[in-house]
């Protein structure tokens, strides 16, 4: 069963029929840049599209390998998770942990207004 990993209301990009080496479009670059919250100028879009197309060309070579019936490998040792006892080990260290904050007040990190 295919799992919807985008979990989106409407996918931003239409799912591909099949993966070919057509490369990546400028529109896709802009859309991914937005997902990754990277501002990108028109000039950069052009250059980036070119580079990403080349990179995706290299990556798409793997489509030639038949991987049917192979389990994905996430950890090279196939190791399993160790569990931690439910004991409080951390004490209040707010002053130190917030020293790098670009803006803070009353023990809070400040960011431009959050609109729900």
């Amino acid at each position: 069963m295919a799992i919807d990993r985008s979990n989106s209301l409407e996918p931003e990009m239409p799912a591909p029929e099949k993966i070919d080496s057509q490369g990546i479009s400028a529109k896709q670059v802009q859309s991914v840049a937005h997902l990754a919250r990277l501002s990108i100028s028109e000039d950069e879009v052009r250059q980036t599209t070119e580079k990403l197309t080349a990179i995706m060309g290299l990556i798409d070579e793997m489509q030639a390998v038949n991987t049917d019936g192979i389990e994905p490998l996430a950890n090279p040792l196939d190791a399993v998770q160790r569990l931690r006892a439910d004991e409080v080990t951390e004490t209040n260290n707010r002053e130190q942990l917030m020293t790098n904050a670009p803006a803070k007040e009353d023990g809070l990190f400040l960011v431009p207004k959050v609109i729900d």
Partner: protein, 485 residues
């Protein structure tokens, strides 16, 4: 046109662990901002998560509690999006193979029937922090303050099938879920502190239509009352919109319980693409059979089983058993009172009657009742052995409530409320009553059986009054009938 609403719920249940799901920071509620957010919770560079064993155990308990399959190999995934209350830029959650698979819960409806709500799954994930919107002196465009104390608190997100048809059913489900997680001890159930938060998916369709309408999701409701209101309001809004010729837009909504106003959520307008993938900082959590068996052996009695026991072993009726088993605190109270009183049915009447009424009048929860279960049981015992009548019992209860004595026996003794069961003494009172009411005696004797049955009440009342309520009403009845022959 007749409309039908279709409701599904997603419930975030905060697990009652001492520490966060991936860090050793405390989860205690109400601390100063960011004093319980360690480097892991703040998403600082180079910091790594380790899974809290108790969060796994609690999720398993929930699964066993709703008779669901427990998934043996659990993968944590990253759900990627940017938001200030999400410090790492991704939420660590489960997507494929959630820890708790499909299960179900039965809810009791007002008409006495039960209704099954299927649970699609429940998955483990981390809670986000909080944004505070106050006036800050820093920044020129208006700022929000971020408190990450809550970030990383373990949650199970319970997802139901769209099996509810009105707000009452949804609330009944929510209450039952509350009862289950508190019975299991996996959640403190403190709704006002956000320990359980409900997202409701609502759509409407013409009665009889198979196809579902477009749904909206109203997020983060944290009381049963608000939930009921928000659902009713949304159903109404959708019906009106459709009847006015509009289409329902799939959207996320917010409901403000204080103002009773709902609106579309601006930050969720944009479609997102969460790019889930398995978190490479965590390995698969493998649940061994030995762990499952250990948890299974430690499971408390679930409300369903308790209800069955109340019916089969204690002889309660279905309705009473449902009401008394639904909430853990009520069920525990009732059982203790029944045990101390030696009469389950009588105890049930008192818990659901006088006690419930008085708690309600004083706006108290059963756990804070001034009359302990043992004291109420003592009262029941004295009714059962005819030491006091039901009427006197109410006086005793009132005295216990007002702390005029620590036990029923003490109150009875102090106030001289002991029931009179001496035949001679009762006969003397009856003789006196009959002597003072010759006309009524005359009328009685002249009447037929049907009328006599009604008229005897007058003499009972007079006799009880004369005994100041202490005469045993059963004996009074019997002796009166004999003497009036």
């Amino acid at each position: 046109m007749e409309w039908e609403a279709v409701i599904g719920l997603e419930i975030h249940v905060q697990l009652a662990t001492k520490t966060k799901i991936f860090s050793g920071a405390s989860t205690a509620f109400g601390a100063e901002p960011n004093t319980q957010a360690c480097a892991v919770d703040l998403g600082l560079p180079g910091i790594l998560p380790v899974v809290n064993e108790e969060a796994i155990n609690m999720a398993i308990k929930f699964g066993l509690g709703i008779k669901a399959e427990i998934n043996k190999v659990n993968i944590f995934e990253r759900k990627n999006y940017f938001y200030p209350d999400l410090p790492k830029g991704y939420q660590t959650t489960q997507l494929d193979k959630p820890i708790v698979g499909a299960g179900h819960m039965d809810i009791a409806l007002d008409d006495g029937s039960t209704h099954r709500v299927r649970i699609h799954h429940a998955h483990l994930e981390e809670d986000a922090g909080k944004s505070l919107h106050e006036a800050f002196s820093t920044g020129s465009h208006g700022m929000s303050g971020i408190d990450l104390n809550r970030a990383g608190t373990p949650l199970i997100e319970v997802v139901t099938e769209p099996d509810m048809r009105n707000a009452k059913q949804a609330v009944a489900f929510a209450r039952k879920l509350h009862s289950i997680v508190t019975t299991l001890g996996i959640c403190d159930g403190e709704m006002s502190q956000g320990s359980m938060r409900f997202d409701v998916n609502v759509s409407v369709r013409p009665q009889g239509q198979e196809k579902l309408g477009t749904r909206t999701e109203t997020k983060n409701l944290n009381s049963f009352k608000f939930m009921e209101r928000a659902i009713n309001k949304e159903i109404q809004r959708q019906i009106e919109a459709i009847e006015d010729g509009f289409e329902i837009v799939q959207e996320t909504r917010l409901y403000n319980g204080d103002t009773d106003v709902a609106r579309s959520m601006r930050s969720k307008e944009e479609a997102n693409d969460y790019r889930y993938f398995p978190c490479p900082d965590l390995l698969p959590v493998v649940i061994e059979d030995s762990r499952l068996e250990k948890i299974r052996s430690e499971m408390p009695e679930m409300p369903e089983a308790r209800k069955a026991r109340f019916i089969n072993d204690l002889g309660l009726g279905d309705y009473d058993a449902e009401v008394l088993s639904c909430e853990l605190a009520t069920a525990d109270y009732f059982e203790a009172a029944a045990k101390a009183g030696g009469d389950a049915k009588l105890a049930a009447n008192w818990v659901m009657g006088e006690l419930a009424k008085t708690l309600n009048q004083n706006d108290l929860e059963i756990v804070s009742s001034p009359v302990s279960a043992e004291a109420l049981g003592g009262l029941v015992a004295r009714i059962k052995d005819n030491t006091i009548s039901g009427k006197i019992a109410k006086q005793v209860f009132e005295a216990l409530w007002n702390n005029e004595g620590s036990s029923a026996d003490e109150v009875i003794e102090k106030k001289g409320l002991k029931q009179v069961t001496d035949i001679g003494a009762i006969e003397a009172i009856i003789d006196d009553v009959l002597a003072r009411n010759p006309a009524q005696v005359e009328q009685y004797r002249a009447a037929d059986d049907a009328r006599r049955g009604k008229m005897v009440g007058f003499f009972v009342g007079q006799t009880m009054k004369a005994s100041r309520g202490k005469a045993n009403p059963g004996m009074v009845n019997q002796l009166l009938k004999k003497k009036l022959q």
